[in-house]
Symmetry: C2
Subunit: 345 residues, 2 copies
């Protein structure tokens, strides 16, 4: 049976001050209509897969339960301690395989935005089908819309079954020139969506991360030992730990208005702009203002005579940064963490 | 006897969102150390004049009393309805003359900042003395530091007694070229500080604004009728109604770090800047930021990679505007007043 597994353990400081330690990106109401990204992911997944579970961190489990009350409690797996995505994916695989040995898993990041949901659901359904039929690991790659240097790329190779192609190689975040070359050559963005039979993934973990594989089998044999075993697993991403080392991975290209909402600047990919190119959430007064991104969770934000700025008011903090420097909000969070700004992070 | 009279009836939208209808500029803690401009004015005045009173609007009287608890209640004159400065000055003159017929009044705006307080006190003491000795109206003019087009100017004429000079004429807010010419020719800024014997001012009001003069005499004869008479007085500024029409006005030049704190940009005249030229009030995090003006009454304001901006968080509102457009905050207030932004003005 198909099992969608939403990975909802991330933090993310790049949407500070809306995102905080206690309020990660996937729990923010950034989807249209004020839906959280996590709930939107659940809703899309529930349209393709009868089973939808979530893997999250222990300290986020309560927030996750509030955000997706539709997910039964026994489908929310809480990592006793965060051990990165290889262990999290493995935990989902052993847990689901215990009750459904033929399970096909679809791993979905909780904090992305999809503009064309039916388009996404078509590709995901196909990825489940190819993973099951070929017993392959299938990744959905995003057709790039720009030579972004913030994403990993994957190089498609020979054609394979079900409209998929072989993955010739995974490439780390490139420099600008490489990114341009990749886009020209038809590389895809690696968006962290993977589909596979549980047994196949556990075999790959055994091969490439034997301590993780062994630990997971001990957890399968004695689930009540999860809290003792899991924190000792190697902390490594599924990309570095498994995908880049595994041969025969397939990819399906997806073009469905994907955004990782990776910075305030990306809010323009998620929200409609006004005639002057401003994207405003919450009450805003704009005078002679162009192409700004305004986000306010309370009160009014007034901007006069500025363009290309991000202005955020959220809780006890205000942020002003040019859109092209939106990534640098991490510097602010770092300063606050190093100083006495604990109340603000 | 000398009587300092602080005019504290103003509103002022140019420091929105700190200033509001219910919280005018003079009640904001903009003086160094968080002192209100009104209290700083009282403190300076109390150093030169044993008697210090305040004229304010009825709906500001409570706020004024809280800001300057040192002023006895019977020295706070509340206009039943605001009728501009000619009537307010006249009300102070008749009220004070009733108990001190020889009173010399010094009219002081409540919402200015003075950097060199001993310097200010020297000039003000001299202005009281010249006004008393010559039975003249004496205005303190500010030695300009730039060709500002936001102020009225006064042209000094022939030398007079006590180091004063005649005022040849008052000039309205000029265009840029005129302002440059005025500064080159030694004109002074009209800063609204006037000194005179009460009897002299009442005579000028009788001459130039006979209905105001007559109304004030009726108030002097029956103070309990103030509420009925005062609202009917002509509403006109003391500058337009009296000063520009009166011959023989004298001026003393003052150079004591004066600022009218007329916009957020002017906060740089009142506050020390850091090495990068940023002026910050409240908790601020600055990353790669130059020459910004930050003001926060709560929480933290973080700015990254911007220069020359005003960023204000005050109560339920946030403002972002380039310093050189700081005056345009009035457009925001207008928009809020015309829309449903009553909670924000």
């Amino acid at each position: 049976m198909n099992h969608a597994v939403i990975l909802a353990g991330g933090g993310g400081t790049r949407l500070w001050p809306a995102s905080r330690r206690a309020l990660p990106k996937q729990l923010l109401p950034l989807a249209p209509g004020g839906e959280t990204l996590l709930h939107a992911t659940w809703r899309r997944a529930a349209g393709v897969s009868r089973e939808v579970g979530v893997v999250t961190a222990a300290d986020q489990a309560a927030g996750v339960a509030r955000a997706v009350p539709e997910v039964p409690a026994d489908q929310v797996l809480a990592e006793p301690r965060p051990r990165n995505t290889a262990a999290a994916v493995g935990l989902a695989a052993v847990t689901i395989a215990a009750r459904d040995p033929d399970a096909v898993l679809g791993i979905l990041p909780a904090d992305h935005h999809i503009g064309d949901e039916p388009g996404w659901q078509r590709v995901v359904a196909q990825a489940f089908a190819v993973a099951a039929a070929e017993d392959a690991i299938v990744t959905v790659g995003i057709t790039p819309t720009r030579p972004d240097t913030g994403f990993g790329y994957l190089e498609p190779g020979a054609a394979a079954a079900g409209g998929a192609r072989q993955v010739a190689r995974f490439v780390e975040k490139p420099d600008r020139a490489s990114a341009e070359a990749y886009v020209a050559r038809g590389y895809l963005w690696n968006a962290g969506m993977f589909f596979f039979r549980a047994a196949r993934m556990l075999a790959e973990l055994d091969r490439h991360l034997p301590d993780v594989g062994a630990g997971l089998r001990r957890i399968a044999a004695a689930p009540e030992e999860t809290g003792a075993i899991y924190p000792g697993l190697t902390s490594i991403s599924i990309d570095h730990g498994v995908m880049e080392k595994t041969r025969g991975i397939l990819t399906l290209a997806g073009d469905f208005g994907w955004s990782d909402v990776g910075s305030w600047d990306a809010l323009a990919e998620v929200r409609a702009a006004d005639a002057a190119g401003n994207v405003a959430e919450g009450q805003a007064v704009l005078v002679d203002a162009k192409e700004n991104i305004i986000h306010s969770d309370a009160g009014v934000v007034a901007v006069v005579g500025v363009s290309g700025l991000v202005v955020v008011r959220s809780g006890n903090a205000v942020l002003v940064v040019p859109r092209e420097r939106a990534q640098d909000v991490r510097e602010v969070v770092k300063k606050l963490e190093q100083g006495d700004g604990d109340a603000y992070v």
